[in-house]
């Protein structure tokens, strides 16, 4: 393969940033203004910069779109559906911090409050339980392994919240006592939820590097 001088130096440049990246590839993006050197000082002087508002708005929109996507993943119970909004919350939390994780997790499910109020509350709790601890852990250790650790911790907490939530809420939807729920529903719900979080984790891990490239390229614009 012949490589021209320009592309070579460009590739070197990318290599440099890439090695910087490799040693600590990070998703973190400071939400200051879009171009520090040429800022007028107006859009960033408010409590929240316009960039911050815009980014949060788009991520919440993504979470809402994702929350309406339903994929069957459990052949044993085809009515239990997977929705990818957990991934959105995780990435938002990694890139922009725990506050972003909270906003995306809560606002992302607000539309569902009007169709399935109790289910929506539970989903909000689960989303928070997943993304906030993950994001807090990632703040200390912003590398790919750090992200993995964050996802695992978040998944465990979210699993507990999911089980508790189901125990509380299912009796309102179906005539079952808490004990019956524990005995009959949990054996199906538990593996389903584990599978769900595994998928969240695997996909987030898979997209980690490309997403960090995307974030890096928009940061440099």
């Amino acid at each position: 393969m012949s490589v021209s001088k320009i592309e070579q130096s460009r590739a070197q440049q990318t290599e440099q940033t890439a090695t910087q990246h490799e040693s600590s590839p990070s998703l973190q993006v400071p939400l200051g203004n879009h171009d520090d050197r040429h800022a007028t000082g107006v859009g960033t002087s408010g409590r929240w910069s316009t960039k911050r508002i815009a980014v949060y708005a788009l991520f919440v929109a993504l979470a809402i779109v994702a929350s309406f996507i339903e994929l069957p993943i459990f052949p044993a119970a085809p009515f239990l559906k997977y929705d990818p909004s957990g991934i959105i919350g995780l990435v938002a939390g990694f890139a922009y911090g725990p506050a972003a994780a909270v906003i995306v997790s809560v606002l992302g499910f607000v539309p569902h409050l009007f169709t399935n109020p109790l289910g929506a509350l539970m989903n909000i709790a689960i989303a928070l339980a997943l993304s906030v601890p993950a994001s807090l852990l990632y703040r200390n250790k912003h590398t790919r392994p750090g992200a993995l650790l964050g996802i695992i911790c978040g998944s465990v907490i979210a699993l507990i919240v999911a089980i508790l939530g189901n125990l509380l809420i299912t009796p309102l939807y179906a005539h079952m006592s808490v004990a019956q729920v524990a005995a009959m529903i949990i054996p199906i719900l538990l593996p389903f939820n584990v599978l769900k979080f595994v998928i969240h984790g695997v996909v987030t891990f898979l997209i980690y590097k490309p997403i960090s490239n995307v974030l890096a390229s928009t940061a440099n614009k």
Binding site: M1, T40, I53, A57, A61, T115, H175
Partner: protein, 802 residues
Amino acid sequence: MIAEPSHIPASQLCRKTTVTSSIAYAVQLEHIGFSYDRGKTWTLHDLSLHIEQGSYVAIVGANGSGKSTLGRIIAGLSTPDYGTVTLCNQQVFQQQAFPKAYRQVRRHIGVVFQQPDDQLVATVVEDDVAFGPENLHVPSDQIRQRVDASLQQVGLSNRVHHNPLAMSGGQQQRVAIAGMLAMHAKMLILDEPCAMLDTQGRKEVLDVLHQLHDQGTTIVHITHGLEEALQADRIIAMHHGMPQELGKQEAIDFFTHPQPSQPYQPSQPQQTSYLQSIDHSATQSHAQSNQSNEQFNSQPAIWHSQAPADQPVLSAQHISFRFSGSATATLDAMNLEVMSGTITAIRGDNGSGKSTFARILSGIYTPQTGSISICGLPLVSERTTGTKQHSIKAKRKLREQIRTHIGYVMQHPEHQLFAETVAEDVAFGPTNQGLTPEHIQQRVHEALALVGIEHLAGLSPFALSGGQQRLVAIAGVLACHPDVVIWDEPTSSLDADATARVHSIMQELKAHGIASIIITHDEAECSLADHVVTMRKLDAPDVQEQHHHRSLLQQLDPRATLVATLTMMFTTFAVNSPLALAITGLLCLAMMAATRTSPRWLIRSIHPFLALFAIMWVCNLWFTQDGTVLWSWGALSITDMGLWLATLYFCRLVAVIAFGAMLIHATSTVALIDAMHSLMTPLSKLGFHTDELALVASLALRFVPTLGKEAQDIMNAQATRGGSIDAGASSKRLRAMAAIVVPVFAGALRHADQLALALDARCYEGGTGRTHLRQMVFTWKDAVYMLIALADIAAIVWLAFN
């Protein structure tokens, strides 16, 4: 004269004479410079420019000439690196920025950008136009006046309550201009506003600009269309960061004799080349392009189409299509036959259904009638039931097999890139086809060579220029070895070099028996084709301004409806007696009357849930064993209690959903967000930034349809490369998921950048508060509604415990 809330009245702000001359200047730039890379290269260097108050100036130039950068500096959205900037007679920058001055001055400068829908911040025209004045703290009643006046100025008074996202590009740009007028902008900067518009849209925008100019607004129009430039009084050409005044004749020469690295001049409509040349740096471009053209012309290995030459490779008969929920058909009895090794162009105006047709041919949509066969295999076949004919698509496995013969290059295909490296992205298609790793490598190498970007194989696709990204996406489609490639506007936004490259690829494919179907606006592109098809938009009834007779619920304060309805929804879970159920049922009916909901609409909107509830009804029936047994089959028995409880739970769920659906139907999302925002005011005392959160929520809702559509487009595009998330092996599905999630994120970030700019242009500032177009007033009717809700809650709860 409406009193301005700023310190200096606007009447004086932009008309005050300077000390040195008696001419009033809107813009004075003295020796400014701008660098994107900390001084390595200078986009603008030692530039001085004066623009008189009330003039109409066009700024033209190639990509990279600095015109957009200049536009942003003039608009007060960014600062130069050095020099002095005076806008509307206030010095805003001299070696450093003066934020207070910028804030003052920006209130009177309006900015309109290229992408019409990225400037929209609301889902209702009047809310979008009102956003600017709200940020300027204009009192509510005056906002209403301003909105009406500006919509009248741009000719959109009959669309006050419409959804701007559903309007044409020209209309959307006019809404953007109206938004700026509502802020009483004295100067309007427009950065390639007509680039994405068709002839009609361009005319609409130019007419408005003329009107505004007549009324005394300073207009700075950045463009690279000759027709638009000639509208101006003064034409300034930017050439590598240096301005040059052009007379009318010189301007015509400038456009008709393009310099090297000039933008491609399509015949119609004018399209912008915001994407850089595929060869990265401008200085090397000439030498580069020669070199790569040579590489390219040295016959790279390319597969030959397997399709027989005597049969059509694609045959579509009698295709009719209508989107579900649409009153009019998009396509009516379309026929198309494509032989291998040919190029067919499909052209037509915006809205003629070209893209829809492309998607149908690729197997993404299924038409209502008609049949499609690819290489002799039936993708869609027609069945006759009774007297009606309808189309059914092939079974999954056959469909997947047929799809390997079709390549689909969507609009802006660079938006579907997702992988860590270019090679990995291109390998996606072959990998999904289940080829061996060596075979995949070979395909990737071949595709990259065909397209001319082998040297980029190891780079991240997100580090490339726009033109290069497009080539990567095209390579990704070609690596699947299709027999027919469908291209949807393949050269939109590309410059001359990149366009030529894409055309060569098509010719090369043709020489090897691979057919191309090109959807295009561009006459010049049609000249490539052996066969041209013209599509015309089907007639649709005119859009009338709907007169909303506000139903009872809509007249209430949304806070009351929100709180009362939500609490009623939650209380419904406590219903456990026939009387309580009856009360709930009655309230449901009452609400249906109050919101003018028809039972049929209600059933239609909740029917997705009915299936789930039915399953639960069965489960409840089975689980409940108390009471007297009515029937039994072996282990299964149905008791009277079981029947009652199952029905009770079913009715409860239906009631909850019905309340919710009616609430959403009756109250606009805008009103709901306003209500929630208002109700959260106590939280703001605790330090929560409820204002910003409310804005985030309403902006998010505005973007949901946009992102949803983009996500769908990306899912479709990846599906044509064999990546689908709802069926197949787990590892394949996960990989497909990644291939969808990453581009969707990239798209969201792209929108976020533009949105931030739009917010800046509308003078939004967090923390300073905003006035509102609409006021919520709590009246006696609201009190009555809340009392009814309270009575309902009391009754249900009492009955629950007794």
